[in-house]
Symmetry: C2
């Protein structure tokens, strides 16, 4: 693979990108898809693409996306999206501000030197791509040349730009978060803390709820509001899902019934169902009547199960609510017990953000899991060569044919072989980088982290570290791999 082929490959990717963008533009342009592409706006009762003559141009959303102010973004999608945009724009600014100085200065400095040409005369390899690309880099500067000073100074320029912009972004994100916390539209989770590792109920009290209640009321006599104990409601959940299923079926049956009321037959046809296996056998009954009976039955069962769950299935975790935001924020940061493995407290999150089954994991188990997961992540980062070698084993056609001889006939087709050779390595790497965050997120959840967003944050820190390290090495490896394969 020479430089032309490399550029062709890049061009292909750009082509795919453009194709996908055009598909997106046309799909989001069709009014029928609005519920898919603009759910937030519809939920907030706004008109999608409000104020835009959308029939004119399917690409108008790009202009809208560029001119949308931060306040509008926060109003529509929340602070997290705004923070993500700050991050993206900072990275873009760093790239642009560096490129403005570095490209015009360093590229000519590198290209006009001749180390690569000189060395290739004495070299035995035919590493054309590496050589072509190296002509654009510091690798083309002859040893002890004064030109190195240009790279040295530009290194400082890049550092200054990166530090300055990151500092600005950090302050801005901090300000965004503070604004969100001070928002007059208070959120329930701002008044709550998550309490874990509630010790066994002592003799004087009857339930965990009463115990938590008396414990926190003693510490915060004026601002304590109430507590909610985490319960093991897997069984109740199953019954509730069953109930929801019946309700959906009922709604569907009623719609069918309504639609059957035509002018010709105003009383309609009541739909029927067979009660046996998969609705194929058994006696025929009226669907609406049948599901109504089922719903009544399940509601009674659910209520009974909920009562049992509330009284008997209380776990060792709770949500404690206060009447003051300041007290809740302060409580979430304070120690509440002498021993570190009891009454551990953390800030609350939205109910859907909480990983409920992680809340009941005990302190020592959490610590143990943390160490184990950290060890696994550390091993993954240190021995990054193992998965990369594993992928390399599959990504060279030669090895693939050796491993699975039955694909040989496919490989023999010349055209297919070229395509496979060009895109197989990239495809494997794309799959790998798609699976990696999933693995890391799974690991952080395994750690016993209490909320979804914290788990994502923990995973993305690991992810960034690994990607930084891996992308450096794997891309180089990939290039070398490709070159050696083609030249051999």
């Amino acid at each position: 693979m020479d430089l032309t082929s490399f550029v062709t490959s890049l061009g292909t990717y750009f082509g795919i990108f453009m194709g996908l963008m055009i598909v997106y533009a046309f799909l989001s342009w069709r009014a029928g898809n609005n519920v898919v592409y603009y759910p937030n706006k519809i939920l907030k009762g706004l008109e999608p693409l409000e104020g835009i003559n959308k029939s004119r141009n399917p690409f108008i959303w790009m202009k809208v996306a560029l001119v949308t102010s931060e306040t509008e973004v926060i109003a529509l999608s929340g602070v997290d999206t705004a923070v993500y945009f700050v991050f993206l724009s900072t990275v873009l600014s760093i790239l642009v501000l560096s490129a403005v100085i570095l490209l015009p200065v360093l590229l000519p400095v590198a290209v006009t030197d001749e180390r690569v040409v000189k060395e290739s005369l004495t070299s035995h390899y035919n590493q054309t791509v590496v050589d072509e690309l190296q002509k654009l880099t510091m690798g083309n500067i002859t040893e002890k040349s004064n030109r190195l000073w240009a790279f040295f100074v530009c290194c400082y320029w890049f550092s200054l730009v990166a530090l300055g912009l990151l500092w600005k972004a950090c302050k801005h994100v901090s300000w965004l978060r503070a604004e969100a916390l001070m928002d007059p539209n208070v959120k329930p989770e701002q008044f709550a803390v998550v309490v874990r590792d509630i010790p066994a109920v002592p003799l004087g009290e009857t339930t965990t709820e009463e115990y938590v209640h008396s414990y926190f009321e003693a510490i915060y006599p004026e601002t304590y509001y109430k507590c909610m104990i985490v319960t093991d409601n897997r069984k109740a959940n199953r019954i509730w899902e069953e109930l929801e299923g019946y309700k959906k079926q009922l709604a569907r049956a009623e719609t069918v019934f309504q639609m059957s009321k035509t002018n010709a037959k105003p009383e309609g046809t009541r739909p029927t169902i067979k009660t046996g296996l998969l609705g194929l056998c058994g006696s025929k009954v009226d669907i609406i009547q049948y599901y109504n009976d089922r719903i009544n039955e399940t509601v009674t069962k659910l209520e009974a199960e909920q009562k049992i769950t509330q009284s008997e299935k209380q776990q060792n975790a709770a949500l404690v609510f206060f009447t003051s935001r300041v007290v809740a924020a302060s409580a979430a940061q304070s120690l509440h017990a002498q021993m570190v493995d009891t009454w551990s407290v953390s800030p609350a999150a939205e109910p859907r953000q909480l990983i409920w089954h992680n809340l009941t994991i005990k302190y020592f188990e959490r610590e143990l899991r943390k160490y184990l997961v950290n060890a696994v992540v550390a091993l993954t980062i240190v021995f990054y060569m193992v998965p990369i070698s594993f992928i390399s084993a599959f990504t060279t056609l030669q090895n693939l044919v050796e491993l699975a001889p039955f694909i040989e006939p496919v490989v023999r087709i010349k055209a297919l072989r070229t395509v496979l050779e060009a895109y197989l390595p990239q495809l494997a790497l794309i799959i790998f980088f798609y699976l990696l965050p999933k693995l890391l997120l799974y690991l952080s959840k395994l750690e016993g982290i209490p909320t979804q967003s914290q788990a994502v944050r923990a995973a993305s820190i690991c992810l960034n570290t690994s990607i930084f390290q891996w992308s450096m090495c794997s891309l180089e490896l990939l290039l070398v791999e490709l070159c050696t394969e083609h030249s051999s």
Copy 2:
């Protein structure tokens, strides 16, 4: 030096210990020294050695020390002393409980084997002490002997004893601290927090005090009580010390005047002083009149200086007081500002415990100092060989004479030479271990730690690490040093 000489050396130390103890017993026995030996009891208005017929036995204090209960210790000397006693008794219990099993089992197992004897036949060195001592240790077990299992099992016994007793001690100390915190005799520092890194006063406010006041009143509207800004009162302190000096002189002069009022001369002699250099020249004046004038003068100066200090020399640190203990404890653990380098908060300590000049060090300087000090401590621990070699250079008489030839005449005296050779190394090590904690405490204060007790704790952690490592190595080195010197 053979084993006999080693035992003699140990005996000498025991003799010194007994001598010092007897001196202590007799000194503390004399009623005139009570103010030196029992200051806490006298301050609390108790009779020293209350209820003990002290004229009988000067060693009765030992019995008293052994039977004093923990509650009495806390009442007399505070929780810290009780915690120290828990630590001492735990160490003693570990030693005794281990020795009860280990000595009767392992000593015979080791002594009856013969590795050392066998090896000394083939060895070229004459390391008698090391050999004699090694006969009592695992070093005397022949390779792959089944006797090693005894050491293996005893290792587990020791670990179990140590872990069990340390866990018990930890829980007990935690209980002691909690009791002290819940004591109904509340202490002022339990209602206060130390605030550092107060940012520059914004335009609306006039002084730092008003700024801190409005800041904390907004966060804790109901429980905020007041604030005290740390001021730079070095100048006021100097004037106050001057004033105290004059007051002492006045009291002394008045006592002299009172004592001069004998029956023969009831009006007494008013003492006089010369005002010039060192009371040697100048005009003679009445001392009492002179110091009264001086005191009045200094009091005016002090009041003026105090006013200036209060208004103009406010620093960027403060003590904030609350009306509730719980709020103060919670506030000391919470973040109070968006940026980490402003409004940092920590628990308050007694005024005499605060290291006032450390309070005004800014956040980034503190962080920098922390890293620098940690680096120095890490270097000290890793390169522990350097100070030990340095000491070794002085502790062998031979080297000492080479370094300082003028002491040769002293060394020529045979008796003095023997004494010096026997005790010089130990003396040097004692001095070294006396200076080490001072260095570490100095380093932790340099770090910018806000209270004395925290600095002591930080230093003692380093100290224990280093002592553990150093004592292992230095004692071995010392033994080898002594042996080689004597055998050479």
